[in-house]
Subunit: 304 residues, 2 copies
């Protein structure tokens, strides 16, 4: 298969299907049913399953088998979903809708939403353990992936980015342009990018990849992760609100964005540059790189 | 050392000191400082460090070294503290004070409190990884402990208990006496006991204990965990409010308690029976059992 004959949308749809089946299995309803219902509601409210698909692809590129890394692939979606539930809470972004559906706290109440988020985070890290206990992957590799995911989703990653985004808003507005740019970069690299970047590396590490391949995927992940975030900022300004399913735009909420800081053209230039850089990192994978190449292009071409 | 010459309070004070030093090290302030300050505020607001001390004792009894299980010991306190921060939130128990100090959301705001809880939970499971990466404990043992802690703190454990406690209150009030007793037992065994029980087992498992010893500690943990909870219910009625540092009692809040269901004498009888049963489980440890024997007695004798 070459890049030109490859249908990325078909591929993504097929992988989404496989991931959804695994998520369904790992979220079987037990007692108390209410917590499982709340976890499932947010998990199956849509979503591109980008992070799990990156785990699968990271493993495939490094000689691993999809099914053997599936628990960690699902763990990434659990962590992503928990972060959305908590971000939507009244004390945080106070969003009533996400992807066109009521947010967890509007549907189940704030108490259940907080617990459903806590539960998804806890169970996510339990899924990582399953990679060693049920899939026969070496325990040391699994421990290293656990540490990687904690760094990417904890205070040194996603939570750190979220904290700065939530609380240092006022600080940033008063700051100089250089401070604003630095803070925006910190928020994006930590809040969104860290988890996307960790997804590919986690798949590769579970497959026993060489340090050179892990490094290449880590850099590719950093580049497309940031491009993805910039594209989000651009879509927030020019995109079709209905397709995005969002209530208010970040621009309306006067949030710091790449477009507000660099202008629409400047933001587009940055995203394109990052995608080109990401693709250069893939040389080490030879012909097998076609999926990640297509994905990098897709990120700045997508409409929703 | 025999049980009679052993000073439990001195021992607990010494161990609390050791655990606090380790917690301090694992919570070193980095960027962004606000999240670390919030995590440290709740972590160092007092607390008996019962769970970490049980991890250390579980390891010691099975031939392990205290320092080599310290990351997991601290992980248990991280998980316990995160659960307190989230339980205190306005949407949950809505408590302004805990241990005589402002709760996290009153001190830092709800957004920071939610994130500080999320962070403590995430970093807790990262600490478990350190047991393999820094303390030389076999990765397979560490993976098994990770799975154990997820079961104890996730939907099959603490979060399940919290969910039923929070949301099925009204259901229980209308139920028959037998349903009430079953629900109360579910809440207690899951909300509080699961984590206490897992502490001893985690220490033993990291030390490579035999299945017989792990089973004995598991049963001992279940018995003293429930006795501890019943003692809490009793103290809530007869204890000195100032010593406990609580605002309102569960009795005033008309919560389902062992005292309300079984009466003061009935609750005391149950707690005593559980402590006796717990001590019988310790036979397999010979003379070394004196610390856990003293601890079991202490649970129904404590005043705060």
């Amino acid at each position: 298969m070459t890049k030109n004959s490859f249908d990325l949308k078909k591929y993504l749809a097929a992988k989404t299907h496989v991931v959804n089946a695994a998520l369904d299995k790992y979220l079987e309803v037990k007692y108390p049913p209410l917590i499982y219902r709340a976890m499932r509601y947010s998990m199956f409210a849509g979503g591109k399953r980008l992070r799990p698909i990156l785990v699968l692809e990271g493993a495939r590129l490094c000689g691993g088998r999809e099914q053997s890394v599936m628990p960690t692939a699902c763990a990434l979606e659990f962590i992503h979903t928990y972060s959305l539930i908590h971000d939507d809470l009244p004390a945080m972004d106070n969003d009533d809708y996400r992807r066109g559906k009521l947010t967890s706290h509007k549907k189940f109440g704030e108490d259940v939403a907080i617990l459903a988020g806590d539960a998804l985070l806890t169970e996510a890290l339990g899924l990582v353990a399953k990679n060693a206990q049920e899939k026969g992957i070496g325990a040391e590799r699994v421990i290293n992936v656990l540490a990687l995911l904690v760094r990417a989703s904890g205070v040194e990653g996603m939570i750190g980015g979220q904290l700065v985004d939530t609380c240092e808003d006022s600080l940033v507005k008063k700051g100089k342009q250089a401070t604003k740019k630095r803070t925006l970069a910190y928020i994006h690299t930590h809040k969104t990018l860290a988890l996307i970047q960790a997804s590919l590396s986690a798949g590769a590490m579970l497959a026993g990849a060489s340090p050179a391949k892990i490094k290449a995927l880590d850099r590719y992940g950093a580049d497309i992760g940031l491009a993805f975030q910039i594209a989000d900022d651009i879509l927030d300004v020019v995109g079709d609100k209905k397709k995005l399913g969002k209530k208010g735009s970040d621009a309306q909420n006067k949030k710091l964005t790449y477009v507000s800081l660099y202008g629409l053209d400047g933001a587009r230039r940055q995203a394109k540059g990052l995608v080109a850089a990401a693709k250069r990192e893939l040389a080490v994978f030879g012909r097998e790189k076609y999926i990640l190449e297509s994905l990098a292009d897709f990120i700045i071409e997508r409409e929703y």
